[in-house]
Every structure is written in C-alpha cells, then in structure tokens.
Symmetry: D2
Subunit: 320 residues, 4 copies
C-alpha cells in the first residue's frame, strides 16, 4: 500500500471487493442480504439470560459535534412543559396537563447507521448507480434508510480489540486495526466470537471510554483508532452484514495515506454495500462479555425509517 | 360513567389504578418494571421462523400532522448530495463523495412512544412527583425517555380488534374498544393472544389502513376508534408493560365525556405509569398473524435515548 | 402569446429583457444596482410625517404553508420561559430570570425576498452563471442574500391595483395584471405613483386581505391575482430595483400557459436580475396612501444576511 | 457598589430606574415609546449622502456560539439547489429551475434584539407583569417581538468608545464602560454625538473587530468589554429608546459583582423597559463616522415579527 497513492489503492480494493449486481440490479440492501430468516431465528436463540443492553449514546447538546459540515449536536426543545401545566397555563379540562417536544439534529450526529447513499465512489453509489440519480436534494430516491427498516437485526458479535490488544482496554488514537488484530481478538475471545456470513460485527476500540473520561476533544473527526484500510477484504470476504464501532468514523484516523479522506468508506459503502455503524456505545456490553466470556448476542438495531435519509440515528439493543 | 363528569371519573379511576410508590420513590420506569430478564428470555424463544416486521410508519413530510400544537411532519433536508458529488462540487480527494442530512421534527409526529413525562394529572407526574419539578423547559429531568433506552423489549401480543370485530378489518371512527371487546378478541385469536404481566400489547383498530387508503383526513387528532376510558382497569390489572395502537391518540375519539381531552391518558401515564405507543403500523404484522394464527412475538421497540425527552420516535421490530 | 408555448415565450422574453453583463461579470446585485446614494438620499426626503409601517406578516404556525416542497410554517419554540423563571427552576443568582427561543423555518415561508439564486433558466443563474456552480448543497456561493445586506433600501411606490381596479379593493384569483393595468393604476393614483429607475414597486392585489378574512385556503400556491407574464418588459424597461406583492407567488396563478410553472420568475430573476418580494402585507400602508393620496415613501427592506441563502424573511419598513 | 451585594445593588437601581406604568398598564413597547413621528421624521433628515450600512453580522455556522443554553450557530440547509436544476432532477417545465432553503437557529444566535420578554426581575416582566403569565412555552403572550414590528426606527447615534478611549480602537475584555466614559466619548466626537430622548445608541467596544481578527474564542459568553452596571441610571435618565453593542452581552463581563449574571440586563429590560441590541457589527459604520466626523444617522432596525418571540435576529440599516 503506497501512502502516496490512495486513488490506486482504493481502485484496486474496490475492484476486488465490489458486490455490484450480486443481489440483482434493483437491490437496495447490500450486505444486509446476508441476513435471512434462519439467521434471525438463530440470533434469537442466543438470548439466554434475557439481559438487554442499549448500545446508544444519549442524544443531547453535550455531544461531540463541533459544527464541521454543519453537524451540530441535537437541539431538543419543549413545546409544552410540566411547569406550564403546574401553573394552569395550558387550558385543558379535568386537570390533565401535557408536555411535548421537538428535535433538530443531523442524522449523523450521534449513534447512527450510515445508509448506502452516504458515500460515493467516483460518482457511483451502491450497485453502480449514478450518484446524481440516487441522492438529490429531496433525499435518497433509491436506497433511503427506510428500505432497511426491518432488515438490521441478527447475530451480533463483539470484537473488543481495545480489551484484547490495548492498554487498560483502550487503543491509542491513530491505531490501525488490521485483519491480524481482528483474528487475534477473535482467537483470544474464543468460540462465541467467530465471525461469519450475516453477522453484525461490533468493534470496540475504547476511544469512547476515553472521551467519556477525558472530554470529547476531537472525537468528532480527529485522530482515532479504527479499522485499517487493509481490512476491506476481510469486511468483504467474511460476508458480514454490517460493522459498527465506538468511534466517530469507523476507520483509523489519520487515514493511512498522505492525503486522503475516509478511503475505507469509499470501498465499504458504495462497493461492498456494507452498512456501517458509528459512535456506538459498546462499554456496558463489553464489560458483560468480558465477565461471562460470551461475545455473541441477538442484536436489533432498527434505524428510524426516515424517507430518503442516507443514515439514521439508532438505539441498538443487544440481548444476551 | 357520567358523560358530564370527567373530573370525577378520572379521579376515581386514577385512585383505583394508581401505582405510585409500587417500585420505590425513585422509580422512572413505571410498568416497564414488569419486564424482567426471564420475560425477555421467554420473548426471544417466541422467534420461530425468523421473520422480522417493522411496525413504524415512514417519517416524512407526507404524514398526518397539520400543525396543531406546533406538531408538523418531519422536515428532512440534505447537507450534501450525490448531485453535488457527481458534479465534483465537494472538494474531497481520490474520488470519494458523500451525502449528509438533517431532520427537524416533533418527537410525537409519527410512530412513537409517549414517555412518562408526557402527561400530568392535576400537576402530578408519574409516581406523584410535581410536574414542575419533572418537565421544565430543559426537558424531563427525571423520567426522560433516555432512562428507558434498554427497557422496552419483551413479549409482544397483537390484539387485532379491527379484524376480530370490525368490518373488512376496520373499526369505525368513534368506536370505543371495551374490556369485553378485548376479551372477545383474545378468545377469538386463541392461546397465543393471552395477555399477562410484562407484555407489550399492540391493539390494531384498522384506522391506519383506512387512512392509507383514503388519505390522512383528520387522523391527527380527529375522530378515531380507540380504547374506551373504561379499559383503564384492564390496563392496570393485567400488569402489562406497555400498550400501542395504530391511531394518533390510543384512546377513542371523540372522548366518551361531553367535555374532555384524552382522559385515559390522564389515568394511564401519570397514575398507572404505563408507556403508550401511538401511530404504529401494525398491518403487515397483523396479516402475518392472521395467516399463521400466532399472535405473540418478540418485540424490540427501543426509543431514541434523547436526554430529557417526553417521548420518542421509534421503529419497533417484531420477530416471529 | 401562445398558451401552448411557454418555452418559446419565455425564451423570447428572456432574450429581450436579459441584463447579463450589464454591471460586469462579477455582479451579484442585479437590478439593485439601479439604487445609488442619490436615490437613497432622495428616498429619505420622502419622509414627511414620520409614520412607520411594517409590511411584514407575522411569522408563526398560523401561516399559509401546507408542506408543499417541504415548506412549513415557522416553528418557534422556547428554550427557557417566564414560567420556569417564576418557579425558580433556572438557577440564576440575584433574582434574574430569562427566556430564550429558537426558530426553524423555510426562508420562503412568509414575507420574504427571493434572492438571485432562487430561480434558474435552463440551468443558468443570474448573469449567465451555471446554476450548478452557484447554488450547491452548501448554499449560494455567489449571489447569497448576504451580498444584498445593505442594498435594499430606497424609494418605494405602492401600486394599489386592487383598490384601483378591483371590487371592494380586491382583484379576483386568476386576474392577470397587465402593463395597461399598471399604467391605469399609476394614472389614477397621481404623481407620487410614477415609477422609474431604482424604485421598489409594491403591488397590492388585495388577495391577502381576502385570505385574512376568509382563511388561507390555497394562498400558498393556489390561484391568485398577480402580474401577467407580459409585464416582463415593463419590469425590465422601467429599470426598477425590485418588485413585491401581497401574494404567494408575485405572478398570476394559474399561470397564463397551458402547462407552466412561474414563467415570469424565469425571466425576472435569472435574466433581468430582479429581486422579488412575496407575501408582503401592504394593507395598512395602502389604507394610509388611499387616505393621504401619497403613494411614495422611503422603504427599508433589509434581508437577514444568511450566508448563502437564496432568499430571506424580511420585515420591510415603509416611512412616510 | 458592594461587589458582594448584587441583590441589593440591583434592587436599588431597579427602584430608581423603573418605568412601570409610565405608558399605561397595557404598554408593550417600553422605551420605544420615546420614539414618535417627529423623531422618525427628524431621523430621515439626517440622511445626507445616501450611504447605507448594514450593522449585521452574517448568519451562518461560522458564528461564535458553542452550545451554551442550547444556543447553536444557525444551520442553513437547502431544499433544492442549482446542482439539481442543472442535472434536470426537478421535474419543472420549460427549463425553469429553483432553489429553496431552510434555517434553524436560536433567535439570540447572532445580531439581534432582546425583546422585553427576554429577562425577568424576581419573577416580574416588563411593566410589573408576572413572568409566568407573559412568557410560557407558547411564547411571549404579551410583549412578543411582533408588537415592535414597526417601532424600532429613528435617530441612531454611534458612541465609538473603542476608538475614543481604547488602544488601536479596541477596549480590552473586562473593561467596564462608565457614564464618564460615555460622556468623554460624546465630548470627543462632537455635536452629532449628543444623546437624548428617543435615540437608539450604538456603543462600539471593538471586541468584534478583535474576534474577527483573532478568532471567536469566548466571544459568546466570555470576558468582554461592555457597559458598567452603574450606567443603568444613564440609560434611564437619557430617555433613549434602545441601546446596542458589538458584544455578545452588552454589559461588561465578568460582571462587576463577585457572583452575578448580567445584572444590568435585570435593571434594563424588565424595569426600564429598554430594548437591547447585541452582536451588532458597527465597524464599517464606525470607520465612516471617524472619517466624516458625523456620528448620527437614520437607523432602521426592524425585528422579524415572530409571534411570541422574546428576541429577534435583525439586519439594522444605518443611513447617512
């Protein structure tokens, strides 16, 4: 991999890993096609104790966003409050009072799925479609996140690379997780950590743990541990359905080329057709997995079906 | 029940069904406490075929809201598009392009959970707390929906009252579903439709089917089929964890008193501590249940953990 | 004018009235260039009594928008309130309390200016620039409304066509105001109503008066009185700086071709370089003008300088 | 003035300067009542050259806000773009294309007016009204900024304290401008700088100049030059209509008491009934005034008439 040649590296990786046409010309689900009824039924059987974990950060103003690309933190405001109700300002009969609220937020502001319309490769969206016919100012006309409303649930696997290979459970910023690191983590975690077709792989780096302790700093877009560009083949060959991390951008930052911007995204989303989860909070789940040695679980990570959205906030639920 | 006396009827029902203190002074989950690990584990075992159903409407401008109480439909706009990417306007290296988006919406605009801070009874919120100390302009300081992030998953039961008792699967607007109607529906649907502690009950009236066919009309706040005020005791005594309907407001409209506004909410939320789902799309699930005769399923209905929110949009996933 | 041939009619009118290059290749102000210091100084001298009129509708949920093209009415919410302050919820010292608020709105939702980036003619923006280089997802890179921040103030002239030619002061929906109608109105109103270089012309149809009385109905996009397509030459030849009406769309609707959409906009904005004001409330000013027979005034109609905006809400102030 | 006693100092100043009842019990305009037709007519006569200055900062993401009290910078997004138009994605006839946009912003995010409902003193709003009856979650029911739609135009006076008393035209952060400083500035600037009844006084500190050069830093809420608490009497006794500065908060910060928050606001808004402008960009106007020695001008600073708003963004226009 030539650090000076992202263009060539991306092209070569995209050519090796491209899934265009694999599920027909009309496909909108990409690698989510690897999840079928049997896998969902199997995933449900992984629930033994009945413990439930939310893998979502809280959505509020105290998030990591700093305004880059107009990405703010969520702004949540009240239309009516208990204070108004208590003072009898609401005009409702028989003592009923109410509170209502509103939110304004970028869909990529916190725990989220990148949809297939989120990234393009030389003007091509997933399945080779022209980007300009897919995502216009009216939104994603083809692969809007609403098409995946029921599709993102199955077997989840946690790869806690931070705990396996890091210091005090955390990888340093700039640490590029390679295929070898993933394999070592799986080996260390044991049989429940095997990864295969249709799985939703959750990679914990520990960066969110650090941000929670030390402050956000440049969590949103700065240096971070993450997947190496070279894992594109692993992401493709394992036939996983989706991947998620506890970082802003899933792949290592700074990126591994001299002048680049999220090159693994460019292979993964429009070429592999892979759904990517970002800013997931894997800490409570990871502590539980470390405790009982079981790294697989049922995962239900349903996006909000916002018509035409290229991503969605999500509250993923892991059940063990 | 005296149609002229909602104040007295609400007070009497609230007194009979009030759960304040049942789970301690600090409780924030209300009837969600009825769901425990055993029930979640049991719910997972209901997944047999691995079929997944989204119970969410799509979130977009073509929704039912008309502006009442400043409730608009969601406004989804793009920060970057494939069109910009195709024309090379984005300034990114090595051929990568991207699309980003933003949403502004009331949290009660479409498929949603009412949180425990959504309704008050004479200035009292859930567990008897003063409304003005719970929901201020900064949001719900105590029972914000984020406290239920991992809590709303368990056994779902569909009561398809529309199909059981309606015409062509639909109840007319103004039809008040009584305890007897619920019992008749359960009896007709058979053993998988029994309702008990910790269940999440989904009541289909067919109104959404009608709105989808005939246009929204006054779906958002107008006449609708729904639960009778008299079902408050059933909602309490069955010890269900939550209830959801395919209508705007869960209870029958016009309300069953001469001058009233959502009196069943006033008993259910602040007094019983019950989570209420509204505007759920139960049609595909209902067709499946009618087909295989199985009315129970695993339900994962995780709210977005918006700090301090009194409700949340949700994409509930039913797995059979 | 062939009703079946809007394409040809627009092309011919655009060719006759095009001002491209008139103020240099870098121009961003279009016809606002007709206003110079002398005209602004003259306009100030029109203020005799010192009476001030706001020509803006109120911005709130009770506006005409119905969601077409995601145009909602403004949503104004509070971040803090007097209710919170009164109950001591705010945590401020020495008895100070505060209220703050937020707004979300389309820039074209109510009384507004159309900027030069609002409309294109066959992919060309004002001055012949390629539309795709001018208005991207990041906004208007060239003619954003902020470039006109100080530029829209000068002599205003009211042409009260509704009062001059209508019934009870109102023109019916579908009434196309022609150059002859404008001339007749000017003649009737007298010397203060003459129109010339650099003037900002306010045309009152009376439709807003009607909407205020009868309800919005289809005010936002439905049938309306307005300028005939044939007035394009008048708009050009008079060398006015801007024009504004009390209607949603400035030109008559239905448009005067069999299949068309706002053809006068297509000539006026990208070709003439004309600023268009819409949904102005001219009623109070018109009553005053009818009363004292003076139809000219100083007008300060400053847009909010939102970087890259293709339009702006405005509160125009007329001083007589 | 005891630095340990803001409570007492505020109470004493409020008692001295309170205008409650001065313009009747129903008054909503406060000190704007000092502007009458004669003053507006006089102001127009101050326009000699016809030069126009916008006193507004640009509204965009690159503003000073950092999220405190959920105050973000404006988020401006496009509903349609020239890029879409160029690629023929819009579906309009005869070659017309269009761009539309949306904004979401706190009303106090940039150049703005504080309305009379913005600040309370011990639960009392302007004119002695109970804060909880004035500003509820539905907005300011009494003194909403829309009531001042036509009212904020008159004679403006620039007091360039930065140039008169600062170094290189700038006062340092923490510099408290006293009545003596104001008098010295007026004396230095000469006869056109006299201040009297009904004037709108613009005080330039130079902090915005510094922020523009050095970056925002803590412009939004941090240390700043500004009016001393002790100027409350001057603000009252001069009978000015309004005051505006180039800083975030108008008064000096840190405030002049050990533990305080904007104590001058507490006297000025609810007690004096004074309109306060903040974050105005006075630099271009100030350069012109320094050049020609004329510090008075016509000022039209019309707020957007947002129903129930406690403030408003504004693009003030000064005409000389």
């Amino acid at each position: 991999m030539d650090p000076a040649g992202p263009e060539e590296a991306v092209a070569a990786s995209a050519a090796r890993n491209r899934n265009w046409g694999r599920w027909g010309d009309d496909d909108v689900l990409g690698t989510l096609n690897f999840i079928d009824d049997a896998k969902r039924a199997h995933a449900a059987r992984l629930v033994r104790r009945g413990a439930a974990f939310s893998l979502s950060q809280r959505f509020d103003m105290n998030g990591p966003q700093k305004g880059w690309r107009r990405r703010t933190n969520p702004v949540h405001t009240m239309l009516d409050t208990g204070v108004d109700a208590a003072l009898g300002n609401q005009g409702f009969p028989h003592g009923i009072g109410g509170a209502d609220d509103v939110i304004a937020m970028p869909l990529q502001c916190s725990t989220q799925w990148d949809g297939l319309g989120h990234i393009f490769d030389h003007g091509r969206a997933w399945n080779g479609r022209p980007a300009e016919k897919v995502v216009t100012s009216e939104g994603d006309q083809v692969t809007g996140i609403e098409t995946a409303a029921a599709a993102i649930t199955g077997r989840g696997v946690l790869l806690d690379v931070g705990r396996a290979l890091g210091t005090d459970g955390e990888l340093p910023d700039g640490f590029a997780i390679t295929t070898e690191h993933l394999a070592a983590t799986i080996a260390r975690q044991g049989g429940t950590a095997r990864v295969g077709r249709g799985d939703i792989v959750c990679v914990r780096t520990g960066q969110l743990t650090r941000a929670r302790r030390d402050g956000w700093g440049d969590y949103a877009g700065g240096a971070a541990p993450g997947l190496s560009f070279t894992t594109a083949d692993w992401l493709h060959d394992t036939e996983i359905a989706a991947v998620a991390t506890d970082t802003w951008g899933f792949e290592v930052r700074p990126n591994e080329f001299d002048h680049a911007f999220q090159p693994l995204h460019q292979v993964a989303i429009p070429n592999i057709g892979l759904f990517i989860g970002e800013m997931w909070d894997l800490d409570a789940l990871a502590a539980d997995c470390a405790s009982d040695g079981v790294y697989e679980f049922q995962l239900v990570a349903a996006p909000l079906p916002i018509t035409g959205a290229v991503g969605s906030p999500v509250n993923p639920i892991a059940l063990k």
